[in-house]
Symmetry: C2
C-alpha cells in the first residue's frame, strides 16, 4: 500500500481498488447481535416475513465493512489521516449474506486547511457496490491529510 | 420498551434514555481488528505515541455502540423503522476504553411522507455522550415511521 499525501489528490480522481470482501451470514448476524438486534438482521424466518424478504445486514455493518475496504485500499492517505466526519450516509439497497463488496472513491474537493497549514482538507465520495454492481452504500467523507512537504521537513 | 408511531413525535422533543454502555478495551480492539485496523485503535503503545495519546475507538465502533443504545431506548419508533440515512456524522472527541456512553435524541422535523401516505418522515439529532458529559458523536438521522392510524386499519 503506498501512502498518499495532500499533493497526490486532485478533484475528479476516481479510484477503484480491486479488493473484495465477502459477507458471511454468521458474521452479519454476530454484528447485529452485538450492535443492532432487530429481527430482520438476526433471524432468517423473521426476515423472510419482513418487507426485506430475507436476512439483511445492519447498515452499520455495511459501513464497518466499507471502512475495512478503505483501510486495505491504495487510496488511503498518509497516516495518520484524521476523519473529520461523514455526510449523506445512505444505504439504497441492503447487503445480504453471500454478497461480495468493493468500493470506489471519487475526490470531490481538495484544499489547504486555513487553520492547519501543514494539512489539507479532502472531501471524497465513497461508493460501496455489491457483486451485481448495485450501490449498497454511499457516503461523503471529510478528512485531514498531511502535506508531503511539511512531513519531509520534520 | 414502548413503540412509537408518527403521531407520538413532535419537533423539539428531547429524550434522554437512562441506558448506559460501558466500553471495554478488548471489545474496542476486537472491532478495530475486524473493521478499522489502524495502530491507534489496536495497540496501546503505538496509540500513546500518536497524536491521540492513548488507545481510541474507531469512529465506526462509536457509531455501532450508539445504534445499540438506540435499539435499547424508549424512543425507538414502531417496528419496522426504515432508516433513510444519516447526515453530519461527527466524532468531536474520541471514545476511550472505560468510557460509559449514553445517548440523547432531539426531534428536528416530523412530516407526512408525500409518496407513502401511511408513513411519516422523522428527522432527529442523536448525541452520544461519555461519562464526563462530552459529546463523542453527533449525527442527524432520517427515518420513515409508520402512522398509528393506518397500522390499526390493517
Amino acid at each position: 500500500m503506498s501512502e498518499r499525501f495532500f499533493e497526490d489528490f486532485a478533484v475528479g480522481q476516481v479510484l477503484a481498488p480491486k479488493r473484495r470482501l465477502w459477507v458471511g451470514k454468521d458474521e452479519l448476524i454476530a454484528f447485529a447481535k452485538q450492535f443492532d438486534p432487530q429481527p430482520f438482521h438476526l433471524d432468517e424466518l423473521a426476515a423472510r416475513k419482513s418487507i426485506f424478504g430475507g436476512l439483511i445486514a445492519s447498515g452499520w455493518y455495511t459501513a464497518a465493512m466499507t471502512m475495512r475496504l478503505v483501510t486495505e485500499s491504495e487510496f488511503r492517505s498518509a497516516a495518520p489521516t484524521i476523519g473529520l466526519g461523514f455526510d449523506e450516509l445512505r444505504w439504497p439497497i441492503p447487503v445480504r449474506p453471500g454478497d461480495e463488496l468493493r468500493i470506489e472513491s471519487e475526490v470531490l474537493d481538495v484544499r489547504l486547511s486555513k487553520s492547519r497549514p501543514n494539512q489539507g482538507l479532502l472531501k471524497s465520495r465513497i461508493l460501496t457496490f455489491n457483486q451485481q454492481g448495485q450501490v449498497v452504500q454511499r457516503v461523503v467523507a471529510n478528512e485531514l491529510v498531511p502535506r508531503r512537504s511539511t512531513l519531509e521537513r520534520r
